[in-house]
């Protein structure tokens, strides 16, 4: 299973980490990197990665998205959905050409985002994106693998009819090797603790894999460890929270509002959780062996010095996460059975460790292990299904 860097703001951290041998490639974010700057990047950074075209909101000129030749506003300033009738072929060509010029590993078919998908969503997506894209690739004898980007809304997981509709749509296309799959995340907690959501997401991935499709999971956080038991081809690591959880807000060109910055957190592979730095301070005061709960990396010595000023915008905690999470993923067995047993073992151990911590430190719901019993139950339920 590969690990891609989901890049965004401060993609420099991901690039540096990738050049240090962490992760298998980079997923580029047009709202954060100018099109010409991306073209000028060293080919070695692109040949094992791909572009997230980010036409989710079609003509929303967020960040540097307007610098991309396929940005609809460059074809017509007030470009709207009806304009796709006449421009979809041109748009697909521009999008493919730009991706080819960069020589990415995969070609990605864009996808649109709606708060509530219209009834014609799949038919429109086929007509406006999938068909012109695949036609152009075929006509030009382009040899690269093509992935279809798909945003899976919560309702598509919980409602069987909707789930079947989207699965039928994805698997019904020829000339597509796989999906760049994004689970929309509307949860308010930092970890996903919804049993049905998680189990349905795993089952969703499994159906795609059973259909011989490559599955690349975008915008994933710690739960990708859980998703790994459905044997996807890749998962992602991202720095800021909005790169580890998909929300459309990131792509909306909203007026900048004053927001409270998040607290710095440190990921622990043993705890399967991001622990708020202030709790690490409490652990340091109350538990002599506090450092044992956290992984080793080249960044750890600096982070654990008293002089280190913890801040959510510092690179070290993220680069540490990229490194330790990549290693954790790579340590997973290649077989599904092996992966399930390994993950169950890690969860059991994490629950013991949390008990030890909570003997001294009262953690809140976003730093504790309250997601782990649900995860364990999800694995058991999935295991039951596959051994039926």
């Amino acid at each position: 299973m590969k690990v891609y860097h989901q890049t965004g703001f401060r993609e420099k951290w991901n690039i540096e980490s990738f050049l240090d041998g962490v992760g298998n490639g980079l997923i580029f974010s047009p709202i954060n990197i100018d099109a010409d700057k991306l073209l000028a990047l060293d080919i070695k950074l692109k040949k094992s990665g791909f572009l997230d075209p980010q036409l989710y909101l079609l003509n929303e000129a967020k960040g540097t998205l307007h610098t991309y030749p396929y940005f609809p506003g460059n074809l017509k300033p007030d470009f709207a959905t009806p304009d796709l009738d006449n421009s979809h072929i041109q748009l697909a060509q521009l999008c493919v050409n730009y991706q080819i010029k960069n020589d990415f590993e995969y070609l990605i078919i864009p996808s649109r985002y709606y708060t509530d998908n219209p009834t014609t969503y799949f038919a429109q997506s086929t007509d406006y994106f999938v068909t012109p894209f695949c036609d152009y690739v075929r006509e030009n004898k382009i040899q690269k693998k093509t992935l279809l980007s798909v945003i899976v809304k919560t309702i598509m997981l919980s409602d069987e009819e909707k789930r079947n509709e989207v699965l039928n749509w994805i698997t019904g296309h020829q000339n597509i090797e796989g999906v760049y799959l994004i689970f929309e995340n509307n949860f308010t907690s930092k970890q996903i603790k919804d049993f049905d959501y998680l189990l349905n997401a795993i089952k969703f991935i499994k159906v795609l894999k059973d259909n011989q499709m490559e599955v690349h999971l975008g915008y994933s956080n710690t739960e990708s460890l859980l998703y790994s038991i459905a044997m996807p081809d890749s998962i992602t690591v991202g720095s800021y929270e909005n790169l580890r959880s998909f929300g459309i807000k990131r792509f909306q060109d909203l007026a900048i509002t004053q927001m409270r910055p998040p607290n710095a957190r440190l990921y622990s592979t043993q705890l399967l959780q991001w622990i708020d730095y202030e709790y690490i301070q409490a652990m340091k005061n109350l538990m002599p062996d506090y450092a044992d709960f956290f992984d080793d990396s080249e960044f750890r010595p600096l982070m654990f010095t008293p002089e280190f000023k913890w801040h959510f915008a510092k690179p070290e905690p993220y680069k540490h996460y990229f490194y330790v999470f990549d290693r954790q993923i790579k340590s997973f067995p290649a077989t599904q059975e092996g992966r399930i047993e390994k993950l169950k073992g890690i969860i059991k151990n994490a629950l013991v460790l949390f008990k030890k911590i909570e003997d001294k430190v009262l953690l809140d719901d976003n730093s504790d292990g309250s997601h782990l019993p649900t995860w364990f139950n999800v694995i058991n339920a999935f295991q039951k299904e596959i051994t039926k």
């Binding site: 708020d276 202030e278 409490a282 340091k284 109350l286 000023k309 009262l362 809140d364």
Partner: protein, 147 residues
Amino acid sequence: MFSTEKEMSVMFEKYLKANFGNAYCKESQGLFGVPDFVFYAKQKQAVLIISFELKLKNWKKAAKQAFRYKSFSNISYVVLSSKITNTALKLFEKYNIGLAKFDADRCFEILHKPKLGTPYSESLNKKLIETITSSRKKSKNIETLVR
């Protein structure tokens, strides 16, 4: 009984002022959580910080919030409007979090008096103290809140 936490907060503030002095800040931002009141007492070179979290219900959530305040406080209290069970009280004892009851009759009863502690985060404690260094407000009867 208080009908809202705001009502409880208004009455508690009056009680604080009358019994412990006016050396306090309301809803201090930029720390680890937002305590309803941060009380301070200047003692020679040091400044003693006592945080209060007021709650009408959900004592467990209040305890978690109060534990966070121990990052920058020497003492952290949860103030509830009604009594809780012994099991719940044990949690406050375990984590050395203060627990008090304050009702609509302005009756303040300490159910668990915590030991004085050192804030877990030197930098957060320093940040808070910097905001109150120049304050001339006076505190009194602090010893009644500390074991």
